[in-house]
Symmetry: C2
Subunit: 490 residues, 2 copies
């Protein structure tokens, strides 16, 4: 019989007392591995406690690795009890990993030495996240799709899938690309673990260490570690209001022989800039002239709110030079980790070889559920829903800026879609760090612009993302930002 | 009004006639993009057809990209109609990708030139698949877990996760490792997209092109493309009944300075060989002496059927030299693509940096569902279930072999766990190709042994996996194999 010494007048809750005393009995080996514990019913009765109290304690003991339980039988003391939550021991230091790891891992290690400081975002208006608002995610519809998929009883979705991705989803995406005037068929499409993985696969396919690539300045911040990891030689083209300067591009191509150009023609991250049809056509014709592949990152293709439609570069791509990257992360939810590359049959085959090496195949369950979600119209519905919501939000953001920002010191972009607005001062008296802190003190969190630069910049910049904020918060938050910026000018 | 000319006495099914005629109307632009189609009800009535016929036709037209439909409103002709299933066009050939792709992609391309011939496995006993039998997968329990996770309404599982993987699942795995006497804490664990991805991450972490590694001969066939992709210099150690020869290992280490040794101590794939405790201890001590990291692939750690427990090498690893690879693919189901590496805190950090580059984070929904599946005891239950089933199956396989194989020409291994049995003839009169064909003619599919060799072998070998076959099929199938092998000797 297990006798515990419980104190009902203690500040420590009873279930916690039960945990502590059983832990002590096990640690001191009075209870040995394999020993049975009394049932929750019996122990509760013996100590005149509510059975739930004992259940809660047993559950916690299980979670701590002290006991094992299986339904319908007694809980037992576990064979081996080392607290999982022990402090890291020093065994790592017996081996000098730093001298062993690969060059690329070492580059990566050094480039992330600066740990990002986590800021407590409670009671702050957080303009940093660039994923859809958790409040409007279609989790119920997606759950229904997952259910239907798993109920269908097709075992294929539980086994290894095809390296190129789930065939019906590739079919959907080929058709989806066609709605954007892209002439893609199934053999041109490979599914990826989100857009990041798409970019990584393209680097794997095309880049040897030391190869040159052209990127935009500023660019997608999460792509910068990829550039470094693959040891690419980087040429940066500044992003102006109308996109990169195509004469500059041509000058670069006269001197260099890069592997590709990486560009975001829609609502560029971070600047929010969108290039027009003429720019896209000329960009493509220059790249065709120099045989330069284009990586077109269409991460929020659908989120255009104002003005007429502009076709993706890929839609005009007759030579098959363009790799179009798409993702469900920014319109559905990023947790699903599904994106795609639309390129050509030759490269899709190479991608599938790389996929086999790196993970054999992707998770099929999610791909199948997503395909159903798309097929039954939920995707289009969700797209319409968030389009309506974000169009209003972007409208409020731009209106608030127009009406309240008096300073000429800071310029901001006026995006016709997407989630981000970019602020830049060419000759600011204030450093980025100081500015971010000032705005933070007043209750608003913004993304420092320097995160989006591969090389340094002389400007002071920052990014606002309206993705996680409602209209009221956007108005309040942007008001605060404009007040800080206006005050700098005085 | 849409009038179709349907022929009820035609061999073409009515729904197919509806499809063809509407397609024709769209292709010839008599129906233009945006045009509404009649409702299924109306069209059925007009033509005196069953409404299901029209529904089926509309569905197919939607799938072919001809029409778009949204629930509760009319179907319309799609804006852009290019058949997704068009033959691949020739645009790929305008650009010479072969001269552009990276060295590693090119190596991969050349190494997979030989396309694997797909054999129709209908009416055959297929001894090739090495994943759990689809008949015994716990899809209902897993569905319940997915449901509960998505019902919980925690938006965190829909957003980006942590690069190291879902924290509670890492907690479970640390504890799980402890049950195998491995002193791992959470900081030692990173979740991976299956064991293949674990291996790939280790190569990324440790291997520069030209680095030397030691592997077993034969080895895991899917690892061979990884060796090639990372351009590693390979030293092979033959696998004998008791594992690799440790004197040979020491001789290699006196001459070379490899980055690591890759080994499968349990039920080695393909040979089924298991090393004993003494072998493991000496292996580790040699590696410690030469500071050689060990990649211990524990892909079916739990599936030991006969004899006493043997501890993983990692459990004796005081210097933190061992990378233990685990996976849910071979005991739960591979479609979930979840495995893990238990190493040390330093390397886990490096892995997480690599994860951020390659895909930011993994899918959290599956990890959360799997964690619940483990926490509520379903994993242990499933483990027990399949352990019982496969113990019997392996018993039947070995008994059938013992009682029926008379030839001395072929030796086979007697695995104490796992799914595979390995057959080898040192001087066979028959080539592998001929043997595989002979056995196939009699209705049994086996895996050619050469797939598991990095370099060539003089032996004729093949692998049998009992993973997908029930006891009856195993008995019948192995009887056929033994008859073929016995007949060779005559």
């Amino acid at each position: 019989m297990l006798l515990l010494n419980l104190n009902t007048s203690s500040n420590t809750p009873l279930y916690k007392q039960v945990i502590d005393q059983i832990k002590q009995l096990i640690d001191s080996e009075l209870l040995k591995p394999g020993d049975k514990l009394p049932s929750t019913r019996v122990l509760a009765k013996q100590h005149n406690l509510n059975r739930n109290t004992i259940c809660k304690a047993y559950e916690e003991l299980w979670a701590l690795g002290y006991i094992e339980s299986s339904s319908g039988s007694y809980s037992k003391v576990r064979k081996r009890i080392i607290n999982v939550f022990t402090e890291p021991n020093n065994k790592d230091h017996t081996y000098n990993w730093e001298n062993i790891i690969s060059k690329s891992s070492n580059i990566l290690r050094k480039s992330v030495q600066k740990e990002i400081v986590r800021i407590n975002s409670a009671n702050k208006i957080d303009f940093r996240p660039l994923s859809p608002d958790p409040e409007i995610l279609p989790s119920i519809e997606f759950r229904k799709c997952l259910n239907e998929i798993l109920r269908s009883g097709k075992s294929e979705i539980l086994l290894y899938g095809e390296a190129e991705g789930f065939y019906p989803l590739r079919t959907f995406l080929a058709r989806h690309m066609q709605l954007h005037a892209i002439n893609a068929n199934i053999n041109d499409i490979i599914i990826t673990n989100g857009a990041q993985n798409a970019l990584d696969m393209i680097f794997k396919l095309l880049i040897d260490p030391g190869d040159t690539i052209i990127i935009e300045k500023p660019t997608y911040s999460e792509a910068i570690p990829i550039f470094k990891y693959y040891n690419a030689n980087i040429i940066e083209l500044p992003v102006y209001d109308e996109g990169v300067n195509l004469n500059e591009l041509e000058q670069v191509l006269q001197k260099h022989n890069p592997k590709f150009l990486y560009t975001m023609p829609n609502f560029q991250n971070p600047t929010g800039t969108t290039t027009n049809q003429a720019h896209r056509e000329r960009l493509l014709s220059i790249c065709e002239k120099y045989n330069l592949p284009i990586i077109e990152d269409g991460f929020v293709e659908e989120m255009k709110y104002f003005g007429k439609n502009i076709l993706p570069i890929k839609s005009m791509d007759k030579k098959g030079l363009v790799f179009y990257i798409g993702t469900f992360s920014k319109v559905l939810f990023p947790g699903i980790r599904i994106g795609w590359i639309a390129s050509n049959e030759y490269c899709t085959k190479r991608f599938s070889e790389i996929r086999k090496v790196t993970e054999i195949s992707m998770n099929t369950i999610n791909q199948a559920a997503l395909e159903l979600f798309c097929r039954n119209g939920s995707y289009e519905k969700q797209l319409k829903k968030i389009h309506t919501i974000y169009k209003k939000r972007m409208g409020v953001a731009l209106k608030t800026l127009r009406e309240n920002l008096y300073t000429n010191d800071f310029k901001y972009t006026k995006p016709i879609g997407g989630y981000t607005i970019w602020f830049e001062s060419k000759d600011s008296k204030i450093t980025e760090n100081q500015l971010v802190k000032l705005i933070q003190q007043d209750g608003v969190l913004i993304t420092p612009g320097s995160q989006s630069f591969y090389s340094n910049t002389n400007s002071t910049c920052f990014r606002i993302s309206i993705a996680h904020r409602n209209e009221e918060e956007i108005e309040t938050g942007i008001n605060i930002v404009t007040q800080v910026l206006n005050s700098l000018n005085n």
